[in-house]
């Protein structure tokens, strides 16, 4: 490409050159490259999370030439560095994807076998007619539940595609189940997985433990706060199997054996108790550790034990002051003058006169730690020196400690045990709910206008007000019924009802959402895989299926299993996702088990992905900079970040909002022609295709994307999350705006801290400061889970378990994560970014492991186990632990020989305990559910002697 500046522009540039500059030739050339017709706000919302980097997009001759971080953040809090210039290399090269040769420009129809690469370019009208007819056929023959969308967090899909699919009664797989970003151990502990502090709060830490995260790869725009915290006096410790790009900036590197982090954390807990470093006040107030457990049943002593009319979730502690049993408050964490015992054994008389012994959970915990997790015992398990474990424990006890935890622990089979152990370490030392502390994960919400726009039945402010009145009314009713609830708890109750199809403030999450695992279990062949005992927890006394059956038969999951089973797949709509790249089990499972069942596969995408390649109809979507959009809002940034339409979409691409409008109209038109407009979904609700086209845009009121986004902003002001008066015009001026409150979504309310304009956000302050209860069964951070299955697993308390040999008994332990060069697959084919590594995929191996296998650097190997195999070149690095193989994800399968990728060695096992329903462990969108694992798969690697293509 070469720059073509107009002659008038180059004349003007010349004027700027100093007269005495004898090198005006060169200066002119480059000055021509530095002239622009237009700049517009832009960001990159395709599930780059947390992202939210404001950019300016530089346009010349109707083409986006480049982009540059805006650098327009003002400092939030005195004494904390500002967020500028947030962005990364993917964002700085996004423009190069707009005109890349893999960009989709026209609607395509398959003209050969699926995946053959034989296509016919068709018109939008032809494409929409094909899709509409397939939808109508399926509704008629199989019911709307046979139309499936893979849930993804791509914000355009969450609104535009989801609205359409909800309106026809289609089924969506839960997004967190689909993308595997559910931190089950944090959820088990806090009743929510998603406490997230604002990035600037990292600077407040005195001890940063980079543990199950590689922020130098995955948090490029924000990593500076770690380095700056260090310059501010913090110590940084990296706990990881490999000496990764984040570890190089640590003060200490603790090379933990993969899969043994729980043992390390628990030994630190043992040290803290043993050495009297416990934050007792925090522990008795914030956690369930003082609650009394019956020695006979091992269950919490509850009010219904003492009185037939008593509550099952009213628990007790022992008031040391009075020497008597006392009720642990449910509506507040305030101790009310009680001094709960942490240690000792007490006797309680039951109504029948029977006397039972009760002990605080803490006593049980202490005994377990002393028995199994002394630093010496843990050192044998995790490979970290016992005295270094003590060194770590003492530091955690003395300093404001922040565990930089990404989405890695949760992708281990026993990741929940790791997370519970890490949370325990923080709990014993008072390390959450205050600046510089806590764990992190993901969260969203905030941009309530999206949910309001999707829920309202009439356009404009009035429609929005109706939605607000109904949502607020429901909260008020729930609060009136149970005054011990907080708004957060009330919203969760409400959301659980939505999940059961009872309507309401769905937050764009869809009304027919099923846990993705249920869909895979019934329809994608995973049932057989998950029943392989040798890949599962040996503590299971029964086959996997027995547990699933028990869970479903006992109604623990309501009607969700039935809905999932009914969702016999016929049409797959992929929008904002790449199911064949992402899904654990990959093409091995899906092409074999799901694909043959599908009569129609539609992919809406910016670029030719692996899934698009295997679709029947491909619809080209407008990229960022070609349509209006917002980044996924997040407490990490606390800003609504705007992306404007800077140029027209390339080729025939269209924004999703337009695509689904056109599709809705086409469905109405075809349904009328074909005489099928009214039908019932499986719940008996009447649906109407005839009016779909009109209803999708509220009779045209929301047709224009400018109106839609203007409404979304105004309505977010209505819910209180954005300053009143925010609209498209103010957004165009400022590009991003700081949220002023949480609004109504439970994901946002889960932050449980008040939003302040001049203070960085840190979650859970309402728990630690206002004493608001947690959304758990015990209303406290809960470390004791007394469900019978957890007893069977011996996981009622946090512990370490060896990872099961998922994939078979092979020597190399797989670790993974996001690679530096791409967010998932979407930047992998960026022509500039392809030049920033080896230009092809690779896996990392230690020199010793490579040598014993006769593998040289950059040689292609076959990675295999009993589940599957794929080919990938090797990169040899001494930073890798012997016995470890790093299979970073994101590479498109078509970048590997034979189109098998990393997912093809991952059986995608799920943990049986995650089918439990108990107290807070019950489903609502993006929350409690079984989610497959890919870390800790076992493989072997061998040199490929003859390449497949030879």
């Amino acid at each position: 490409m070469s720059s073509k500046a107009t002659s008038s522009r180059s004349r003007r540039s010349r004027r700027a050159v100093r007269a005495e500059d004898s090198y005006s030739g060169v200066a002119d050339l480059y000055k021509e490259k530095w002239t622009w017709d237009k700049v517009a706000w832009g960001t990159h919302c395709v599930d780059c999370y947390p992202g939210n980097c404001p950019f300016f997009v530089y346009v010349k001759d109707g083409i986006v030439w480049r982009e540059e971080q805006a650098g327009t953040f003002t400092q939030i809090e005195e004494g904390i560095p500002d967020n500028n210039p947030m962005g990364c290399q993917k964002g700085a090269a996004w423009s190069q994807q707009l005109y890349s040769p893999d960009r989709l420009m026209h609607p395509l129809k398959r003209a050969g076998e699926r995946g053959s690469g034989k296509w016919k370019q068709i018109s939008w009208d032809e494409a929409l007619t094909e899709v509409a007819d397939a939808l109508i056929d399926t509704i008629r023959e199989d019911g709307p539940e046979s139309i499936i969308r893979e849930g993804t967090p791509e914000i355009a899909a969450v609104t535009e595609a989801q609205r359409f699919l909800d309106m026809i009664g289609a089924v969506t797989t839960d997004l967190n189940g689909s993308i595997n970003d559910f931190a089950s151990g944090l959820y088990e502990t806090y009743g929510k997985f998603n406490g997230v502090s604002e990035i600037g709060d990292w600077f407040n830490s005195e001890l940063v433990l980079i543990w199950h995260m590689n922020p130098a790869y995955t948090r490029i725009p924000h990593f500076h706060f770690v380095a700056e915290a260090r310059y501010h006096g913090a110590e940084v410790v990296s706990i990881a199997p490999d000496y990764n790009a984040s570890a190089i900036h640590a003060d200490a590197f603790m090379p933990v054996r993969p899969g043994t982090d729980a043992a390390l954390a628990l030994a630190a807990c043992q040290t803290i108790i043993e050495e009297g470093l416990l934050d007792r006040g925090f522990v008795v107030e914030q956690t369930d550790l003082p609650l009394l457990v019956r020695a006979d049943t091992k269950r919490f002593l509850c009010a219904s034990d003492l009185d037939a009319d008593g509550l099952e979730d009213q628990f007790y502690w022992w008031d040391s002051g009075e020497g008597a049993l006392a009720e642990a408050g449910r509506g507040s964490l305030d101790l009310g003058g009680v001094d709960p015992a942490l240690e000792g054994a007490f006797e309680v008389e039951l109504p029948g006169g029977e006397r039972v012994e009760v002990t605080p959970v803490f006593e049980l915990l202490k005994a377990r730690l002393n028995e199994h997790y002394t630093p010496e015992q843990a050192a044998d398990i995790c490979g970290i020196d016992a005295n270094d474990i003590r060194w770590l424990a003492r530091k955690v006890a003395q300093r404001r400690t922040n565990i930089m935890m990404g989405y890695n622990s949760m992708k281990n089979y026993h990741g929940d045990l790791m997370e519970r152990s890490m949370a325990l370490l923080l709990g014993l030392t008072g390390n959450w709910g205050k600046h510089g502390t806590g764990t992190r994960c993901w969260s969203t919400g905030l941009l309530d206008g999206i949910a309001i726009a999707m829920a309202k039945e009439q356009p404009g402010l009035e429609g929005a007000q109706q939605v607000m009145v109904s949502a607020l009314g429901t909260i008020e009713e729930t609060l009136a019924e149970d005054p011990s609830l907080t708004p957060e708890l009330a919203m969760i109750e409400f959301q659980k009802q939505v999940a059961q199809g009872l309507g309401g403030f769905s937050g764009g999450m869809g009304e027919n959402v099923v846990p993705a695992a249920f869909f895979w279990y019934y329809h994608c062949g995973y049932r057989e895989v998950w029943n392989r005992r040798e890949w599962s927890d040996p503590a299971m006394s029964r086959p996997f299926d027995d547990y699933v059956e028990e869970a479903f038969d006992k109604g623990w999951w309501g009607e969700l299993p039935e809905l999932a089973e009914r969702a016999e797949p016929r049409v797959l709509i992929e929008c904002g996702g790449n199911i064949l790249r992402r899904t654990r089990g990959g093409t091995t499972m899906l092409l074999e088990h799901l694909w043959p069942k599908l009569k129609m596969i539609v992919t809406v995408d910016l670029r030719m992905s692996m899934t698009a390649m295997h679709a029947d109809i491909v619809l080209p979507a407008a990229n960022h900079y070609e349509k209006i959009g917002f980044h996924i809002p997040t407490p990490h940034l606390m800003n609504a970040t705007f992306s404007d339409k800077a140029v027209e979409p390339a080729g025939e691409a269209k924004p999703e909002w337009e695509i689904f409008q056109l599709l809705a109209r086409k469905v109405s038109e075809r349904a009328k022609q074909r005489g099928l407009t009214e039908y019932r979904d499986w719940r008996g609700n009447k649906l109407d295709l005839g009016t779909l086209g009109d209803r999708y845009t509220l009779d045209g009121a929301l047709e224009d994307e400018e109106t839609l986004f203007d409404d979304i902003l105004r309505d977010t002001g209505l819910s209180g999350a954005l300053p009143a008066g925010t609209n498209l015009e103010t957004m165009r001026e400022h590009g991003h705006v700081r949220f002023v409150d949480w609004g109504l979504s439970p994901m946002a309310l889960a932050q449980a801290s008040d939003v302040k304009a001049d203070e960085v956000h840190v979650p859970f302050r309402r728990h630690t400061e206002q004493k608001d209860p947690y959304p758990t069964l015990t209303r406290r951070a809960q470390f004791y889970l007394e469900h019978p299955w957890f007893f069977e697993a011996d996981e009622a308390l946090p512990r370490h378990k060896e990872p099961p040999k998922m994939g078979g008994n092979y020597p190399l332990h797989v670790t993974s994560g996001h690679i530096r060069h791409s967010i998932h697959a979407m930047n992998m084919t960026n022509p500039v970014l392809l030049q920033t590594h080896r230009g092809h995929p690779f896996c990392f191996l230690n020199p010793q492991d490579a040598a014993t296998r006769g593998i040289d650097d950059d040689e292609e190997v076959k990675v295999f186990n009993d589940f599957g195999s794929y080919q990938v070149p090797v990169k040899i690095a001494s930073s890798v632990r012997p016995g470890q193989i790093i299979l970073y994800n994101g590479w498109e399968p078509f970048m590997h020989k034979g189109w098998k990728g990393g997912s093809d060695v991952e059986p995608g096992m799920v943990k049986w305990l995650h089918f439990v329903s108990y107290g807070h462990l019950s489903f609502w969108p993006a929350q409690w559910q079984p989610v497959p694992f890919d870390r800790g798969v076992y493989v072997e690697a061998e040199k490929v002697v003859e390449p497949v293509e030879a």
């Binding site: 924000h222 090379p255 392809l834 030049q835 920033t836």
Partner: protein, 352 residues
């Protein structure tokens, strides 16, 4: 030799890269690539590069290629080849997606398996696990005070601007003799085979002239690239380089007096053979760092550590506060103009 008379240097622009904040993300290199080097003949050109050290870098083994100055005259080193730079790979997306061959095709560079590139040995490093070690080293043209590239050019097409010390080439007069590429010991000059000229970093001249910081500096998300005049006593560059002496030139022994400086990398404690931490020893061998940053690097790291110990014990440090850069703009000295505002004003003026 037809080198131009050296005009008296009024001021010298300089950069400081703080390696303790660099995460090797390549935003700087990509920013430069997208802005300046996308034309035909520039495919392999990356005026800003970031490599993992220890490593062979780009061009491959550049530190062994010679060049620089000896006895007041430029020394001709090895002329780096296109293969040694590597990269510039092309891919045939059409064949893959629309060729009808299905999974028989793979997305790989069309002209055979790549053997080197601008970031080929990323994250490979050195040492033996668990005492592995590496760090990232961003590099641009050093706009040397003693530019041997300029001196080596028989046509005199290079020029060091007296007002700011930027080394510029007159591309119209360059005939592609490549003596400059042999002489430059940092191997930061690329050959454009289409135009038959040499090309290198222009210190973002059009931006500098508008008061905007260079793209590689302004776009670095880790906020670690300081820009300014070396003689600006109030600016951070002067303090870091001359006053506190915590920023060092790369390979000072090459003799060109480079104007890009580096805060050298700290590293985590080593582990003893029994696996326990040895808090007295950093893992990057000091001897290795001395080969890059000269004999002062040990003292520099000691100074940095002393400052860190100070703040950890409740003290304060102007040096560390400077490196924190509470205000992002404090990195850029006089170059704090917002390029978008300038562009908006320009387009509002109708481009005339």
């Amino acid at each position: 030799m037809n080198a131009p008379e050296k005009a008296k240097l009024e001021h010298q622009l300089a950069m400081v890269f703080d390696l303790n904040k660099c995460i090797g993300c390549q935003t700087c290199s990509v920013a430069c690539k997208v802005l300046w080097t996308r034309d035909e003949g520039m495919e392999h050109q990356w005026w800003a590069t970031v490599n993992t050290q220890p490593g062979k870098g780009t061009p491959k083994n550049w530190e062994e290629m010679g060049g620089g100055e000896r006895g007041g005259a430029p020394v001709a080193g090895h002329l780096p080849t296109k293969e040694e730079f590597g990269g510039g790979w092309e891919y045939d997306f059409d064949r893959l997606f629309y060729g009808g061959k299905g999974s028989a095709e793979t997305l790989r560079p069309t002209k055979g398996a790549p053997e080197w590139g601008p970031n080929w040995d990323e994250d490979q490093g050195a040492g033996e696990y668990p005492n592995s070690y590496y760090f990232y080293l961003p590099r641009i043209c050093n706009h040397c005070t003693n530019p041997v590239c300029m001196e080596a050019c028989p046509r005199g097409v290079m020029h060091k601007r007296p007002e700011d010390g930027i080394v510029l080439r007159d591309e119209d007069r360059c005939r592609g003799y490549r003596f400059c590429m042999e002489a430059c010991p940092y191997k930061k000059i690329y050959y454009n085979h289409v135009r038959n000229i040499g090309q290198q970093c222009i210190f973002c001249l059009p931006r500098i002239e508008q008061g905007v910081a260079p793209a590689c500096a302004r776009q670095c998300p880790s906020r670690l690239v300081f820009v300014g005049f070396l003689d600006d006593k109030s600016g951070p560059i002067h303090k870091l380089v001359n006053e506190w002496k915590v920023a060092l030139p790369l390979h000072p022994e090459y003799g060109t007096s480079p104007n890009v400086f580096y805060v050298p990398p700290l590293s985590p404690h080593r582990l003893k053979p029994d696996g326990s931490m040895d808090t007295s020893a950093p893992r990057i061998p000091i001897e290795y760092l001395e080969t890059l940053f000269g004999p002062r690097v040990g003292a520099t790291l000691d100074k940095l550590k002393a400052e860190l110990d100070g703040v950890r014990n409740g003290g304060s440090s102007e040096m560390l506060d400077t490196l924190i850069a509470y205000q992002w703009q404090s990195l850029f000295g006089p170059f704090t103009e917002d390029p978008a505002e300038l562009a908006k004003a320009e387009s509002a003026n109708g481009g005339e």
